[in-house]
């Protein structure tokens, strides 16, 4: 099906132990523990309000856990500078949340931060002429949007915007790709197109993916294994059908 590059297969890439998140006295995530191995796509499924999105936000420290810890390649993520952690553990949110401007400016945003230059200037300051333009075009081709670089994001459809958001996250070369219901706001046709982009993106990530979805069928189509979540509690994992069959 899809293969990962750069990491030895089955090495533990990310491990969460006893993660807890509490807001206004309500426990959103309770003692969540799981392991993400290199080369794996793991889906977290469950009903709305189960704590799936909150769990993802704890992994890249957009929210701070009330308890527990996360290790990335054996290193406690609290010891990793938070901006570096977020580049290594990329998150694609439920909404595209694109910045005003062109598609290329959005895709170049992450790398431009590392060069401490505004996104618009990033492409002009790449070390090799055409290097950044090449990277943008390559990423856009990966998500099926070749030739979209100069378009204004205001004119994109929901599915296109979500694919730009995916390319924008991939531009940071994350080791772990977190996907938070990336197709939940799309119609069936757009969902299929984005799923194709996700497959291509997953193959490009040098590590592992954690996909949050309430759609069990989508989890079966995209993931190797599924973790079920309900009322903030993470249940045991089950192997998925299609992806599992594909990897044999």
């Amino acid at each position: 099906m899809y293969t990962f590059v750069g990491m030895p297969e089955n090495a533990t890439l990310l491990r969460a132990e006893g993660l807890r998140r509490e807001v206004a006295g309500r426990e959103l995530v309770r003692e969540a523990s799981f392991t993400l191995r290199s080369g794996e796509v793991v889906a977290v499924t469950g009903p709305s309000g189960a704590g799936k999105s909150t769990l993802l936000r704890l992994l890249n420290r957009l929210d701070e856990p009330a308890g527990g810890a996360v290790w990335l390649q054996g290193r406690d993520t609290r010891e990793i500078e938070v901006r570096e952690l977020r580049r290594r553990v990329g998150l694609v949110m439920q909404g595209a949340n694109l910045f005003p401007g062109s598609v290329a400016e959005n895709v170049g945003y992450g790398p431009s931060l590392m060069k401490t230059a505004p996104a618009g200037r990033w492409r002009d300051e790449a070390e090799q002429p055409g290097e950044a333009v090449g990277l943008v075009e390559d990423l856009l081709a990966t998500v099926g949007l070749a030739g979209y670089a100069e378009r204004d994001v205001a004119g994109l459809s929901g599915g296109e915007a979500q694919r730009v958001s995916l390319a924008r996250t991939l531009a940071n070369h994350p080791q772990v790709l977190l996907l938070d219901e990336p197709t939940s706001s799309l119609d069936e046709a757009a969902k299929r197109v984005v799923e194709e982009a996700l497959r291509a993106a997953m193959a490009k990530v040098e590590g592992a993916c954690l996909l949050v979805t309430h759609d069990a069928a989508q989890a079966a189509r995209l993931a190797h294994r599924t973790l079920k979540m309900q009322d903030g509690v993470l249940r045991d994992s089950v192997l998925c059908g299609e992806a599992e069959r594909g990897s044999r």
């Binding site: 206004a24 957009l62 701070e64 938070v82 901006r83 977020r86 580049r87 949110m93 949340n97 996250t169």
Partner: protein, 280 residues
């Protein structure tokens, strides 16, 4: 006979004239507020309280000024500090969520957290903007070091800084909340809190400075500040009076600019502490 003489003084005095004028303008302001209620603006109570409060405060200030302006120049320092503290209190009061809204937010469980405004942010912003300009201008001889100059000019600078502080914080918090998805997307891509909030801070500062900038631009064309009338009545040379009006408005603009920068910087530091958005 004595009481008749007192009544004559009262009817002919400037205080009586002032109170009559205040009454007329209050009726006009309340009429405007009543007009607003047609559009469900509900300004009536707030306007009435503000008018009574404003008149009471200005009368009290008049009484204090009689004493203060005859005193030493250094008396201005505690008076201006007190004004800064009061301005910060008012700016903070204006920004604080209303009790009913806060209660509703607590009850719903999913409502976004209230913006982390604090008295300290308002005080630091207003005091920094005002103090730097007043001190620098006094040292350069632009503001005479005497109570009659420091107190009225200082109060104008502080009042404008207070308005700017309120506008910056209100706009910045509102934009951060409206764009929380984009702010978090930027943070998730490795941006610092400052980088993620930069476009919204820039908008808030720019918008808050529009009134001061307009005052500076339209000076002498659209409006001639009332301050000039006082100077002319006091026998000041007209051309110098006109130039000094420019100086005063430019000082107000400088203090407002500095207040806006400090307010935005302080609020961003709290709202995005730890590279996380505190209000979602």
């Amino acid at each position: 006979m004595a009481h008749l003489a007192a009544a004559g003084w009262w009817t002919e005095s400037q205080v009586a004239l002032g109170l009559w004028q205040a009454l007329v303008v209050c009726v006009l302001a309340l009429a405007v507020a009543a007009l607003g209620s047609w559009s469900r603006l509900e300004l009536g109570r707030e306007t009435a309280v503000a008018l009574v409060r404003g008149l009471g405060q200005m009368t009290a200030v008049g009484l204090v000024l009689v004493w203060l302006l005859r005193g030493e120049a250094w008396w201005s320092a505690p008076a201006l500090l007190l004004m800064c503290a009061a301005a910060a209190h008012m700016a903070h009061g204006r920004l604080r969520p209303k009790r009913s809204a806060a209660g509703a937010a607590r009850g719903s469980g999913t409502a976004p957290a209230a913006p982390p405004f604090s008295y300290a942010i308002c005080l630091r912003a207003i005091a920094t903007g005002s103090a730097v300009v007043i001190a620098a201008m006094s040292l350069c001889g632009v503001i005479a070091i005497k109570a009659t100059a420091l107190v009225p000019l200082g109060s104008m600078i502080i009042a404008n800084s207070m308005n700017t502080c309120t506008q910056v914080l209100e706009r910045f918090a509102s934009d951060l909340r409206l764009n929380s998805g984009r702010v978090e997307a930027a943070l998730a891509l490795g941006a610092s809190g400052r980088q993620a909030a930069q476009p919204y801070a820039r908008n808030a500062i720019g918008s808050a400075l529009i009134p001061s900038l307009n005052s500076l631009r339209s000076l002498g064309i659209v409006w001639i500040p009332g301050f000039a009338a006082g100077m002319l009545l006091a026998g000041s040379e007209p051309v110098y009076t006109a130039i000094y009006q420019f100086v005063v408005i430019a000082m107000i603009y400088a203090a407002s600019g500095l207040t806006a920068l400090v307010a935005a910087w302080e609020f961003e530091r709290v709202a995005l502490a730890g590279e996380r958005l505190a209000m979602r």
